[in-house]
């Protein structure tokens, strides 16, 4: 044994002592420096889940509002804004729930807040009610005419463009600009009051377009004509042509 130890070179002995010291220091250091709850659930501090869950809330949630403001809550839920949470317009209000007298939620006024959602933007989905603020009763504050908790228009809209801005904008620059909407869509007066329940009609047959565009039609000569029997008889016209902006201009 002694002979074997003597055979080991001096530098190897010293280096191995150093290695042992380094390993021991590493083990002690990791055991001291690693937080005690590290690795209990996964490769992270288990208590940080708790830290994340302990953060302070700001938004109370609309069910909380209904506890005190039940009348307003019912009005809102019967109107077009039924899907809106109160705090969309009134801001984060958990402070108000805890101390109702000290913290008051905001009430947006003027003409800047409502257009955040309702200003006309071509990227918005069709059918979403949009206005052009520059031409829509300039300088009048929205809430003088519209009750935000029941935003049915005070007057029933006269023009289709009040709600269908995108379609009417497209149609106004097309060769169909002079055709009134009601020529193709039979619209009952009730559609203006409850639009989703009384839907306007749409043409169902290709002969409808043929009234102007067939070879036999007695319409103006400048209108493009097609042969109704040979021109793609398997399709209805609006499967290829968009009637609000027909491509032939």
């Amino acid at each position: 044994m002694k002979k074997f130890l003597q055979k080991i070179p001096e530098q190897v002995k010293r280096l191995s002592i150093l290695l042992v010291v380094v390993v021991i220091v590493f083990i002690i250091a990791t055991s001291l420096l690693t937080p005690k709850d590290f690795g209990l659930i996964g490769h992270f501090r288990a208590s940080s889940v708790q830290n994340n869950a302990n953060k302070k809330m700001q938004y109370a949630g609309q069910e909380t509002c209904s506890d005190c403001h039940e009348d307003m809550w019912k009005t809102k839920n019967a109107g077009y804004h039924k899907n809106l949470s109160c705090e969309v317009c009134h801001g984060p209000s958990l402070n108000h729930v805890n101390e109702p007298d000290q913290f008051k939620p905001v009430k947006p006024k003027g003409r800047t807040f409502c257009p955040v959602c309702h200003e006309y933007n071509p990227s918005r989905p069709t059918g979403f009610p949009q206005i052009v603020t520059a031409s829509h009763n300039p300088r009048k504050i929205c809430i003088t005419c519209h009750n935000p908790h029941n935003p049915t228009p005070p007057q029933t809209p006269k023009d289709c463009s009040a709600c269908h801005a995108e379609i009417s904008n497209a149609k106004s620059v097309s060769s169909h600009m002079d055709i009134p909407c009601t020529k193709c869509h039979k619209t009952s007066a009730k559609h203006r009051l409850s639009p989703r329940e009384f839907l306007p009609t749409k043409p169902t047959q290709r002969e409808f377009c043929g009234q102007c565009h067939s070879k036999e039609a007695k319409s103006d000569e400048s209108i493009p004509r097609i042969n109704m029997t040979t021109h793609e008889p398997r399709y209805v016209c609006w499967q290829c042509h968009y009637p609000h902006l027909p491509e032939a201009q």
Partner: protein
């Protein structure tokens, strides 16, 4: 005879020595094991005190692009709820506008993360289609940000939510570079990584995340992924669903309905 006795003594000595050695070696392991299970119990207990056990949940979000109106209320609510710095370019969630023109040109913009609204520029080019895309941390099943964190300061919890341990984060920014969705940022004051947590402090109390709470058109749906009665499962059943960058195999838990192929 004497010789014989001394031999048996030696044998006993060896056996007891080996026994002691084995006990000595196993004792710290056993003690460590007992200690850690004890700690695990206390953590589980905390979870139960709040009535929330992460194991019982798996959270996800659905976003219907056809419903988004680009009002940016989600981004505002998120900043209010989570103390995100108000200046631009710090967002946990934001909305992008995609405009695809007939000549194949694609414009994507998100001025101040949609908070200030989107302006309509007049161009002569004809629009083919246009829509808004809300963006958020995808809470990937295989999160690249968690893989690269050198200290274990970001992690996927048992409920599938990817969280940041801001006390343990060293602010090396590696996770920000690793995220393929650009969903992370460095908080300018704490200098730690920040990201969407699905409003973890709200969901443990059975509340909706702030962005889902305020979305005026219900474009965002939040719920359980493995409970059939959840609104999210219904959303996944009723719509054609896509996820962002599926080729990366990150397996996002934010599901988009009516997703356009141009959305990256």
């Amino acid at each position: 005879m004497e010789n014989n006795i001394s031999q048996t003594d030696k044998k006993v000595e060896r056996r007891s020595f080996l026994k002691k050695l084995a006990i000595l070696a196993l004792a710290p392991i056993a003690f460590g094991f007992l200690g850690s299970t004890d700690k695990l119990k206390t953590i589980k207990k905390w979870m139960l005190e709040n009535g929330y056990v992460p194991n019982n949940h798996k959270w996800g979000m659905g976003i219907d692009i056809n419903k988004c109106i680009g009002c940016g209320r989600c981004a505002v609510a998120c900043k209010n709820e989570n103390n995100v710095p108000q200046e631009p370019f710090f967002f946990r969630t934001w909305v992008e506008r995609y405009r695809i023109y007939e000549d194949g040109d694609i414009q994507v913009d998100s001025p101040n993360g949609s908070i200030d609204g989107f302006e309509n520029w007049r161009t002569n080019k004809k629009m083919l289609r246009s829509f808004f895309v809300p963006k958020i941390c995808n809470h990937c099943e295989n999160p690249p940000c968690v893989q690269v964190c050198p200290v274990g300061a970001t992690f996927k919890g048992e409920d599938g939510v990817v969280l940041v341990d801001s006390d343990y984060c060293v602010g090396c920014r590696y996770c920000i570079q690793a995220c393929p969705y650009g969903a992370r940022f460095l908080h300018p004051e704490t200098h730690t990584a920040e990201k969407c947590t699905f409003c973890y402090h709200r969901i443990v109390q059975d509340k909706l995340p702030a962005c889902v709470e305020v979305c005026p058109t219900q474009a965002r749906v939040f719920g359980e992924l493995n409970k059939k009665a959840s609104p999210l499962v219904r959303f996944l059943r009723m719509n054609k669903i896509g996820v962002l960058k599926p080729s990366l195999n990150t397996e996002p838990k934010v599901y988009y309905a009516n997703l356009d192929m141009e959305v990256k």
